[in-house]
Structure formats: C-alpha cells, structure tokens
C-alpha cells in the first residue's frame, strides 16, 4: 500500500505566551518550539502501521519553510521512505484552499492508494486542507478517522469516523482515498537513534512553484478565497476570580469558598 502523508510544522503554543506581530498578520515566533502538528503525528503512525502490515512505501509532504525539514527528518527517522518540501515565497498568504492546491499539484501524478492528513493543524485549526485536497484529486474521503481496517489486495477499506458524544460511524470507502486522521487513533512511536542517524543522510526533495507547474495566480493571496485581515487577542468577556498565594494558601481559600457555596 503506497501512502502519501501531508504534515505541518507548527509552533507548540499549549503553554507558551503568545504575542501578535506589529503587522497583525502573524504571531512572534521567537522562543516558540516547533514540531509536527499533533494529528499529523498520528497520521504518520497510521501510515507506518499500514505499511508494516501490507508493505508499500510512504511519502511525506509539507508546505513550509526550511525549518520544516526538522519535521520531515523526524518522519524519515521513523521509517518514511521519501520526503518533499513544497516551498516558494510566492506561496506566502495562501489560505487552506491555495495550500491544498499546492499539495494537489505535487500528489496528482504520484502512485498512491491512500493520502493521509491530520484532522486539523494545531495553529490555524481549520480542518480544511485534507478534505479540499481529496476533492481536487478527485478521490473519495472520510474525515475524523479513528480506526482503519484494510485487507490484502482489496480496493476498499473500512474506517470508523468520530461523531459527537462518543458515537462512531463505520463506513466503507473505495481506494485510492483520503482520510483525515484524528488524534488517539494509535500510539505514535518515537524515532530510534539509529533511525535519526540514517535520516540525516536522506535527501529531502525541494519543489517550488515552477517545479509544480503552477501559475502564480493559483497560489498565495491571489489563489486564495479567504484572507486574514488581522489577528487580535480575544476580548475577555468573563474571567475567573484568581486566587493568589502559596499552594497551601490558595488551597485553604478554595476549600473555604467551596464549603461556603455548598458544593463540598
């Protein structure tokens, strides 16, 4: 089974302080640690598991700057065969639609049975690129996949989609197909030291606008259907009463509050 996985190199902002750039079009990146977007990490693992079961080869793609090679190398270290980074200054300002267009151009002539992406990226949380890409490639898709079952030489597979409230939907999909992979579907492995060393020697293919034979108007702001006007820190409509002091002091204060409110 030949699999293409699209990943994104994103800042980990779960516990970081975020500051907006002066031009209001992005966040200040200094001090932020970048890594593969969480759901994409599960997509890579799912590809590796399928390859281990059915054979085949995995190609990882990203759209991003040179620093994104770090994420691609980590994928190579885990056992991905090929990596390519799609990069061009003219991609700047691309929305999800234009980004999917770039990926579609890179993937359309490849041989594949499956394309995997994460459900959504940790930074913009759009959950749009994967399903858009499927439409551009003209293949069926399923979003929010939490389990996959395939069989040798079958041209269909069975997947579970995560619905709300703990409910799953089971469906059958014809290959080639695109699946957006949800976190928790598997247990992502760590790369071995041996794998990391081996990955250092592997080539990462770099493709730009001209390599992809895309028109300049098809990417960047010109090729986008939405544009970012500005970023801002959300208006705080309500804020918790923050208890201050040592752990013992705040605990004692909280215990008193909860007793007074009759909740304990």
């Amino acid at each position: 089974m030949d699999i293409v996985v699209c990943v994104k190199h994103v800042p980990d902002t779960t516990e970081a302080e975020i500051a907006i750039r002066d031009d209001e079009r992005g966040i200040k990146q200094a001090g932020l640690v970048f890594d593969i977007s969480e759901a994409d990490n599960y997509a890579i693992e799912e590809a590796l598991l399928l390859k281990e079961e059915f054979g085949g080869s995995i190609t990882v793609l990203t759209v991003g700057p040179e620093e994104a090679d770090e994420t691609l190398r980590m994928c190579l270290a885990k056992g991905v065969e090929q990596a390519a980074r799609l990069t061009d200054e003219r991609f700047e300002g691309s929305d999800s639609f234009a980004t999917a267009r770039v990926l579609a151009e890179a993937i359309k002539d490849m041989d594949y049975d499956l394309v995997l992406t994460g459900v959504q990226a940790d930074d913009d949380g759009s959950a749009q690129v994967g399903v858009t890409l499927a439409e551009m490639l003209g293949i069926p898709h399923a979003a929010l996949v939490v389990s996959t079952e395939a069989e040798e030489d079958e041209d269909r597979m069975t997947v579970h989609r995560e619905l709300e409230g703990g409910l799953h939907e089971v469906l059958e999909i014809e290959l080639p197909a695109l699946l957006t992979i949800q976190t928790g579907i598997n247990e992502p492995r760590y790369a071995s030291i041996f794998g990391i060393r081996k990955a250092m020697k592997k080539q990462i293919e770099i493709l730009d606008l001209d390599d992809l034979e895309l028109a300049e108007e098809a990417v960047g702001e010109a090729g986008s259907k939405t544009s970012l006007v500005k970023l801002f820190i959300p208006v705080v409509t309500a804020q918790a009463t923050i208890l201050e002091g040592s752990p013992e002091e705040v605990s004692s204060e909280l215990a008193t509050i909860l007793k007074n409110e009759g909740v304990v």
């Binding site: 918790a240 705040v250 215990a255």
Partner: protein, 322 residues
Amino acid sequence: MGEIFVLAEHRQGELRDITFEMLGKGQELAAAMDAPLAAVLLGHGVEDFATELTKHANQVLSIEDERLEHFNSAAYQQVLAHLIAERQPCLVLMGQSAYGMDLAPSLATQLDLPLATDCVGLEFEDGQLFAVREMYGGKVSARIAFRQADTYMATVRQAAFPFEEGEPLGGEVIAVDSPLTEEIKYRKFLEYVEAAVGDVDITQAEVVVAVGRGIKEGDNLPLVEKLAEALGGALAGSRPVIDAGWLPPDRQVGQSGKTVKPKLYLAIGISGASQHVVGMKAASTIVAINKDPDAPIFKVAHYGIVDDLFKVVPALTEQLGG
C-alpha cells in the same frame, strides 16, 4: 437576494442543537441582508423535522430520499451542489461538526465557493462577508475576509451562538426532488457504534475532577485520583489524556466525549480548548488549576489558580480530605 441556507443536522431520530444555533445566527444575518432564511433538510422520513424547522426559518427545503437516511458526505455533496447551483443562496451555513467537517471543504471546492471554517463570528459589510475564528487553541482570534462572491460558505463552531426560542417564523415546507440517480458506491455507510460503557458514569457525578495534558505522564494520575477520592468525585479527562490511553474513552469530557453538568468541576492542567469547554461549561461551579495564565480555561472557570498543579493538587487534597 438569494436565501441564507442552514443545513439541518440530524442523527438517530434527533435534530442536533447546532441546527438551531445556526438558525438563530442565520435569522440575524438574514435580517441584515434582507434575505429569506431557508433550513435545508436532507433525509428519509423526516417530515416531523420539517414541521419543527418551519418555526425557525422562512422556508424548509426538504429533500426526501432513502439514500439520505444516514449522513454520507458524498451523497450530501451531490444534493447540495445541485441545490446551490439552482437557488444561488447568498450564504450556506453548516456546523463545524463531524458532518460539516466531512462535507463543507469538498463542496466548497467543487463549486468554487469561498469557505471559512469553525467561525465564532460572522457579519456582512456592504455585501461582503467577514468571519471571526480562533487560532492557536483559542489564544488568538483572527478576522477573516471572504473573497467577494455570490455565494459564501461558512461552518459554525458548535455552541458558539446561543439559541433563543423566539416568535415562530411560520415558514413553509418546500419539497425538492432528490437529484440522486444511483447508489453511491465509493463511500457506504455501514453502521453506528456506541462507545463502550465503563464502571463509572461521569455524567451522573456531582463532583467531576478532570485532568488534562498538564499531568504530563500517566504515572502521575494517582495524584488527581486522590483528590477525586477526597471530594467523593468522579475522575475524568480531556482529549489528550484519553488519546494517550491514561483514562478510558468513557471518561472523556467534551464534544467527542461526554457532556457533564456537575455541581463542581475541577479542571486540572486543562487548557480549555472549545471542544472541551462545550462538554463542561454548564457545571455550577468551575475551578481551574493551570500554570499558564493565558489558558482559555480561565475564561470559563469561576475560580482559578495559576500555579503548578503538582504543588497545588496535593495541598488541596490535604485541605479537603482533612
């Protein structure tokens, strides 16, 4: 002016809340644009839903087909592409839900429509649509401009817009013929599977102690378990804790897990992503412990402690257990 379409979401015999939330927002946008509000209902044997929706929309466009009994994004896409081409709505709203996320991007791409997802704000300015959506786990908001178009498409965050029952609009049901001609073979719905039920039902607990990514390791879980015991509460978790396998899926609080309404909800090391908040915001008293002062959980909590949970939780356990 074309209509504003709201795609009605239903599953297992029930209209989902997001439908009414979108119709509420849709009514406001329709008034601003002087456009009719149309609920779009796809299904099989859903006459009762159509009647219900007439209270909240000027029109209910009802497409009845046994192939639409269960949601299938491939079938929905064919039907909606046909309907949108025919009626040229000015805006199509769907939920940022398991249905909308599986459908909106491919439909928008097929029809070449601008789409913004997971919107928490939407407004027209001189006929052009703008959205507000969140980024970086809710720490940053973004104002998004749609490229000028005759038809816009947006998906709406679940529980972002309040639904208030107003005067019934008394809309009419318009039956639209299904454009589906044959069975869709490349994607087939098979069945629903319910999550396994464990020994503890967190939805029945008066006190819920929920732990998130901040716990770092599964081995640290006993720390919060002791606090839950001291409070006589049930232990629950946010998505990362369930994903890591530290707690079983039936302990997950949030959009894809359980919705809880306890007297006391303690959020420990939980950042407060919207998907989590939707499952616990109705708790009577919410306390958050998180070392990140910017964590969105502090916007929904009543009381907050900005400190290391590994220091605060043992101290609190002692206070409450003693």
